[in-house]
Every structure is written in C-alpha cells, then in structure tokens.
C-alpha cells in the first residue's frame, strides 16, 4: 500500500469521523473500526482486529483510545499511532469544550433528548449487526473449543457480571493450554 499524504489523510479522517459518532462506549467504536478497516478498506484482517481488540481491552485507558493507537501503529508505525490517537481525541475535546460553555441548556434540551433516544436505537442496531458477523465468523469453522469458550465467556460476563480482566486472563490461558495439548498429541508445532 502506498503511504503517501493521501493515505495519512484517509487514516486520520476515518478515526476522526468514527470518534465523532461514537456514542455508547468503547465497543461501539471497535465495531465501527472493524467495519471500516476490515470490511471496507481491507487494511486489517478479521482475526488481527480481534487480537487488537483484546489488547485494547486489557490495556489501561479508554478502549477507543487504545484501539486507535493499535490500528494506527499497525498501519504506519509510531507516526500512524500518533495520527490516529489525535484523530480520536479531537472530536470529544472540541465538542466538550464548546458544550461546557452552556452545558445546562444542552443537558436539559428536549430536542437533544429525542434525537439521542433515536440514535441510541440506531447505535444498538449497528453493534448487533457487527456482533452477528463476528459470531458467524467464530462458528463457521465448526470447531468445538472456540464456540464453547464464546458461550462460557458470554454467560460469565452477561449473566454473572464477572470482571473483564478475569475473562481475558482465563480465556488466554485456556487458549495457550489447548495449543500445547494439541501439539503433544500430534507431536508437531502449529
């Protein structure tokens, strides 16, 4: 891929654009990044994006910020990471700075409330759309281990509210153990 000015502009513009529309937490921006960088631009592979998500999730700081740094680094090293992180923090920085001047009016505005309620439903649909694709990707290979792990992790986090850190640690450990047990059986390296 040609890393010219146009490429850097595209990288910056896409993170700025995604960040400006990310209501509802880090996972929403990750879903949007996946759609943009994996499906649309084809810059990053599906599995690689999931790896980066796992790293973003286990690193201190906002997930959206971490994810943008990882994607930027992947695309263009440290300069790329700096570019994407600026793209990600500028929209909230600008918006909050403007709003802080008259924030009570904004907070109490009925019109803003109606728009946001509509957007909330839209955001939910966007993330569910991405979720359907991701679940399909895990299940299509019809392997027992990832499917079981996915179900178990879902029950743990959704029903039992178990800490994300614990889920990440346990599933990473389980993954490492499976690699070694399958290696011993086959007597080969994977």
């Amino acid at each position: 891929m040609k890393k010219d000015v146009k490429f850097y502009m595209k990288l910056f513009a896409s993170t700025f654009y995604l960040s400006a529309f990310t209501f509802g937490g880090g996972y929403v921006i990750i879903s949007l990044m996946r759609k943009k960088f994996v499906d649309q631009y084809k810059w990053i592979e599906e599995n690689e994006m999931l790896d980066l998500t796992a790293i973003a999730q286990s690193t201190p700081g906002p997930i959206a910020v971490n994810a943008s740094i990882l994607v930027g680094y992947r695309m263009a090293g440290v300069p790329g990471a700096l570019l994407t992180v600026i793209g990600t923090v500028l929209p909230p920085l600008i918006i909050l700075s403007v709003i802080s001047v008259a924030y009570t009016a904004f907070r109490d505005s009925i019109m803003v409330g109606y728009t946001l309620r509509g957007m909330q439903a839209g955001v939910a649909a966007v993330i569910i759309d991405v979720v359907i694709n991701m679940i399909w990707n895990v299940t299509k290979e019809k392997k027992v281990f990832p499917i079981m792990l996915m179900i178990a992790a879902f029950i743990a986090v959704f029903l039992f509210d178990i800490s994300v850190i614990i889920i990440i640690l346990v599933s990473g450990l389980l993954g490492a153990i499976t690699i070694y047990s399958s290696k011993n059986k086959k007597g080969e390296t994977t």
Partner: protein
C-alpha cells in the same frame, strides 16, 4: 501549576482505569471531586450525563470539560494529553510485542483463546445497549407498557437495512436520530 496538576490527575485516571467505560467513573470522581474539588458531586453527575449525550470516552470527556473550566483551552488539551499518555506508551509497547511475537505458538494459543472471548464481550455490550434503548434506561421488566416501542421500531428497521444493503453505519445513526427527533414529540 494548575496545568501540571491537571496533567498528573488525568494521567492517573488514564493509567488506572482498566476495562473501559464505567470502570473509570470512581477514579474520576476520586480525583476531581474528592481530592481536588474541581467539581461538586452534582456537576460530576452532569459530566456523566453529558458524556452519554456526546461522543467519546468518558475519561476524555471529563478531561476536556474540567480542563477548559479550570484553565481554558490549554487546560482541556493538557488534561486530555495526561489521560492518553499511559495509553500511548503501553499500547505502543504491546503493539510492538504483538507484531514481533505473534508467530510464536504460545502467543497464537493465547490469541486463539482471546478471540472468542472478545466476541462475547462485544455481544454482551451490544445486548446491554439494546436493553437500554428498549427500556429507556430503566429496569428490564415483562410489562409491555414500559417498552419504548418507537425505539424497537427504529432498531428493527435499522438492523434490517444494515443486513440487507451496504450502507454507512454513520448514515444509520444519523437517520435514527432524525426519526427520533421527528416522531418522539408526537408520542409524549
């Protein structure tokens, strides 16, 4: 001096909030309300509400909001920088490690375990968002009158369009916002 304090405060918030989203809330409260008295508890609650109404991570929103009120635009920039410094350093280190060692068997094993777990984490967050939208942020009950049916309608329409055609997600979100703005006034 205030700039330095702002930087250091938000540096700590960035460094110690792991797991994203609301995990950072108690930390922010501790720094800006309890330790420095930059905001009253009511103002802090307002910042949380504003964060839900505006894009961006809550820690960045809080940094911008408090920074600008304490020390103007430089304050907002410095507080935001403080908040993202730990992320930049640690994420870059991990990215380096990931791209250097991802060929190793153990590393691949760990990632094989992490991928399905990450899908579950995102699924869980997605379902929570759906419940939040349908039940207007209140407790989920079987009482059908408590459900925001317009929200259900917008959600279903949006998901149908997303599955059926290749449309931009941003267009879907803006469209959903416009529908809300046009229809909700007639319902209440």
């Amino acid at each position: 001096m205030i700039l330095l304090t702002l930087y250091w405060s938000f540096f700590q918030i960035g460094l110690f909030s792991i797991g994203g989203g609301y995990a950072a809330l108690p930390l922010i409260q501790n720094q800006v309300v309890d330790l420095h008295g930059w905001l009253t508890m009511t103002e802090f609650a307002d910042v949380v509400t504003l964060s839900q109404m505006t894009p961006g991570p809550i820690a960045i929103n809080a940094a911008s909001f408090i920074g600008i009120r304490r020390a103007g635009i430089p304050g907002a920039i410095i507080a935001t920088l403080g908040c993202i410094t730990p992320s930049i350093v640690i994420s870059l280190l991990l990215a380096y490690v990931y791209y250097r060692y991802r060929g190793l068997a153990t590393f691949q094993g760990i990632m094989k375990g992490l991928r399905p777990a990450v899908v579950s984490l995102i699924t869980s967050a997605g379902i929570s968002l759906v419940l939040l939208a349908f039940w207007k942020g209140e407790a989920v009950t079987a009482d059908l009158t408590k459900i925001d049916w317009l929200s259900v309608g917008i959600f279903t329409l949006a998901l149908f369009i997303l599955r059926k055609w290749k449309v931009s997600q941003i267009a879907i979100m803006v469209g959903a916002g416009i529908l809300g703005l046009c229809i909700y006034p007639f319902l209440s």
